[in-house]
Symmetry: C2
Subunit: 211 residues, 2 copies
């Protein structure tokens, strides 16, 4: 009789502990799934410490230091890339965002940039600089606006919203950026980037297929 009781209690304890463990893993997983919203304009602050974390107090510029802003968060997310950065952006003239992309390229991260051909040619565009540095850049060949403003970091972190990669967008406009690792949201952007990248291969004739 005692054997049966012990077996019964043991089985219940086992079932409950499995349940608790599963719940705990799920909660940790859910917490770990990045979902962040950034609003702009961002407070203006020095971002030198983000580019040089080993020398956090090296900058003596007149801007506020050590302040975490929407823009510093955005830079950190971009600079978190360890293997790839796929960038699909309408207008790209922000010098600090360009510096972040160049930093990744120098680190050996595979960077691909897709931009709108009209905005690539405007004064202040950083696209030429990226291309000169050896980054693979393609421009949308169609006559319509390539109006996306998204980036995919390491194939799993999506950065998207209303924000063009310009100084005005970051420091003046009312804008939003979502940063997420939700797979159901990231996957379509990964696929869309691939589709547009192939479609805008300069050595390939490609009919733009509507989404």
């Amino acid at each position: 009789m005692w054997t049966a009781k012990v077996l019964g209690v043991g089985a219940v304890a086992l079932a409950l502990s499995v349940d608790v463990t599963v719940r705990l893993i799920r909660r940790l997983r859910s917490r770990g799934t990045l979902k962040e919203v950034l609003f702009f304009p961002s407070e203006i602050a020095c971002v030198e410490h983000i580019f040089r974390p080993a020398l956090p107090h090296s900058c003596v510029c007149s801007l506020p230091h050590g302040v975490e802003t929407s823009f510093s968060r955005l830079l950190r997310h971009i600079l978190s890339a360890a293997s790839t950065l796929d960038l699909c952006v309408f207008a790209f003239s922000n010098v600090n965002l360009s510096r972040a992309v160049l930093t990744l390229h120098k680190r050996g991260v595979t960077v691909r940039v897709l931009s709108d051909k009209d905005y690539t040619a405007i004064s202040g565009s950083q696209i030429g600089l990226l291309r000169s540095a050896g980054i693979c850049v393609r421009c949308d060949k169609s006559s319509v606006y390539m109006h996306h403003k998204f980036a995919v970091v390491d194939g799993r972190r999506l950065i998207t919203g209303s924000l063009n990669w310009t100084l005005t967008a970051v420091q003046s406009n009312l804008e939003n950026v979502i940063v997420t690792e939700e797979r159901d949201l990231v996957r379509p952007f990964v696929d869309e980037f691939h589709r547009l990248w192939v479609c805008n291969d300069p050595e390939r004739r490609c009919v733009t297929v509507k989404a």
Copy 2:
């Protein structure tokens, strides 16, 4: 001894069934959390059946009928509003999107529209029409662009992306829209709308606080 065995087996069965039920509820909940990505340009198709679902074959226009497109999905999400629609959009000139907003207003849905003051005045803007219909519209008073393009349906469904509410954006440009009910993503937009709405109250002096 048999009593103990039965009790033990019963307890195990109870624990397992609770576990299975919890898992099932979670799976259903997870499935129920809307996460959808729409890409544009949208295929051009008749959307009359979305506005008049009771008469799905009433339209005889020359456009393709019965086709589900990114635009028809967007319209369905907007028209799903049962109590409120908070809209914060830079440029709004799309006649069908305007019709959707007016339809909601006629249904008794509380609609609030916040737009950029410069773009409100351009030819083709639907903002004046919405205001004439009795919808509460506020325009961003600052000298910078109110560049958001988001809507919150019933306080829980977020529609956001690169897409302005114009015909060009829907039918020509490369654009994206995320539709989600993920609370961690929706809540900041609800708060931001509230902040901007209060800030742009015409009867209130308000200093724009940077995000």
